[in-house]
């Protein structure tokens, strides 16, 4: 993976991120780097701090300490909208879709195209939003009969696809996916993994949180393991899947730790 011709420069850098919830130290100074056009797998046991770290990056949590850099520039997020403005999009585990609205409405939720402004009230451009959604689904090879279908009519895999499509619709720099394959059928998982490959081929930079190590192995370029709020491992994904899995599990359960010295120092 290191041999790729694309220049490897960091698009996101987190330095020394700390976050406490009362007496619980959820994150104890985590560093994370994501390069341009890289798929990074973030793994760890329950309560390792994966979701907390990603919520810091997506603006849902404000860190107690540490710095966030986007393309080398320091940023501060106080809400998900701040992060969104910097091109950081999150795909939530429960998809965060409005079931009562159709596919196009969900893709453009909160960012509706307006064709006429009547004072504070904007008149929507339905046609533009539907056409754009059609093109988007086509580009991502997502198979949904009509952009006018209500989301409640879609299968689990289709809903995940809509959630991912929405995250990519507005020139996102970084897409964070929280357990994108949890609660999906085997066939649907394959489709979502294909979708992630399509996104990467299109130049996207992606962070995936997943319990399913084989998913990380199949689409990821690099893996970071968190344990008890610390980074314990950071390496390219290589070798055969059994060796990879053993390595990941060893770090997840605490049998190995690459950064112990640094933190104790």
């Amino acid at each position: 993976m290191e041999s790729t011709t694309r220049t490897r420069s960091p698009i996101v850098e987190l330095r020394g991120i700390k976050k406490n919830f009362g007496a619980v130290q959820a994150l104890r100074g985590v560093d994370l780097m994501l390069n341009h056009n890289e798929v990074l797998g973030l793994v760890g046991d329950n309560a390792a701090g994966k979701s907390t770290l990603m919520k810091v990056l997506s603006g849902a949590y404000i860190p107690d300490d540490g710095k966030i850099f986007i393309e080398g520039r320091e940023v501060r997020f106080s809400s998900p909208m701040d992060a969104r403005r910097e091109g950081i999009e999150m795909v939530y585990q429960d998809y965060a879709l409005a079931d009562n609205l159709n596919v196009a409405a969900n893709v453009f939720l909160g960012r509706e195209a307006v064709r006429l402004k009547l004072g504070p009230i904007g008149v929507m451009d339905h046609h533009y939003m539907e056409q754009e959604t059609k093109h988007l689904l086509k580009r991502l090879k997502i198979n949904i009969a009509s952009v006018r279908l209500k989301v409640e009519r879609l299968s689990g895999g289709q809903r995940q696809a809509v959630a991912i499509a929405r995250a990519t619709a507005f020139d996102a720099k970084v897409i964070i996916m929280d357990e994108p394959t949890a609660a999906l059928s085997v066939a649907a998982i394959e489709k979502v993994l294909d979708l992630i490959r399509t996104l990467k081929a299109g130049g996207a930079s992606i962070i995936i949180i997943s319990h399913r190590l084989e998913d990380i192995y199949h689409v990821g370029d690099r893996m970071i393991v968190l344990r008890h709020g610390r980074k314990v491992h950071d390496s390219p994904i290589e070798g055969d899947i059994h060796e990879f899995r053993e390595r990941a599990v060893a770090y997840m359960v605490g049998a190995r730790d690459d950064f112990r010295e640094e933190t104790l120092a």
């Binding site: 879709l97 409005a98 009562n100």
Partner: protein, 393 residues
Amino acid sequence: MTFIALTRKLLRENIREYGMFIALFVIMGVFTITTDGVFISSRNIVNLVNQTGYIAVLAVGMTLVIVIRHIDLSVGFLAGFLGAVAAVALVFWHWPVYLAILFVLGLGVLAGLLTSFLVAHFGIPSFVATLAGWLGYRGALQLVTRNTGTIIIPNDAFNAIGNGFIPDIPIDILPEMHKLTLLLGLLGIVLFVISEVSNRRKMQSYHFEVLPREMFILKLVFISALLGAIAWVLAGYQGLSWTAVVVLAVVLIYDFITTKTVLGRHIYAVGGNPEAAELSGISVKRITYVVFGSMGMLSALSGILFASRLQSATTTAGTLFELDAIAAAFVGGVSAAGGVGKVTGALIGALVMTSLTSGMNLMGIDISYQYIVRALVLAAAVIFDVTTRNTGK
């Protein structure tokens, strides 16, 4: 596909949409037969429309409140109280009509904002917050009318809102008919046909699925005939009432806002999934303020319509309006789960409920049985909603 099979398919796929129209037709048909045509007479229909007015505007606002998963029990007495305030402003303060109306509408918005402050800011369940409003506005209504009892409003302009009709064109053709009403009906049909045809052309040019040609023509003919019939019936008495004009304006404006604007989209998004809406950058608080604010304004409008219709403000005005409005909203297809329901449905729902009352009154049915029949219709509407949500499209 044969024509009948096609019709059945369309009916099946759109049963939720057409269900309440069919119900309204059946109810009106039954009453027309049982009352030997009195029900469908011009005079009764005009009365029916005017009786529906003050509930219909509440039902429109209530639909949006229920869409965002709340409820507002305070609207009845708020309407009564604000109607009394309007009467006081006209009778004791000698304010001009337009000023009194604007003042009361403004108070309504403030009352709605107060409710949403409790709901959105403190997180008080709307049921409790508006129950407090129900008590408070009831007390306020009694305070305002305590010294005077019923306040008679001797103002022709104000009373015309609830009792008057739009003026006619002074020409000598069709002396028995209200010409302007017929003209407006014709205009409505023409605008409807033009917008449907251009919409269909646009859809076809984008390669979206449209109704087959013969079904489309049938729909145009059917709805045009319906509009024409309504205009004809109304024109046979004194024409379009001012109440009908007010209600139509409210429904058209709210329909436009809910279906065409970003604000409307956000209201339905908040109803469908508040967390997702918030994560998408939609302020659930702001939407709550807007929806309850509009509900307060429509309560004021309802109070004005009712006071104007009675030409007075009474000590019990607004009693149980909130429950009629909620029932009308549910009959009109709003879903208690949130996110689903149209303002046009609220109008149909209100018409269904008032038609039941009016028809049963004409038949001389005991008021006790009337309540039971209305209970059955309400229950049937909600059962219909729940069962078609899972099976139909």
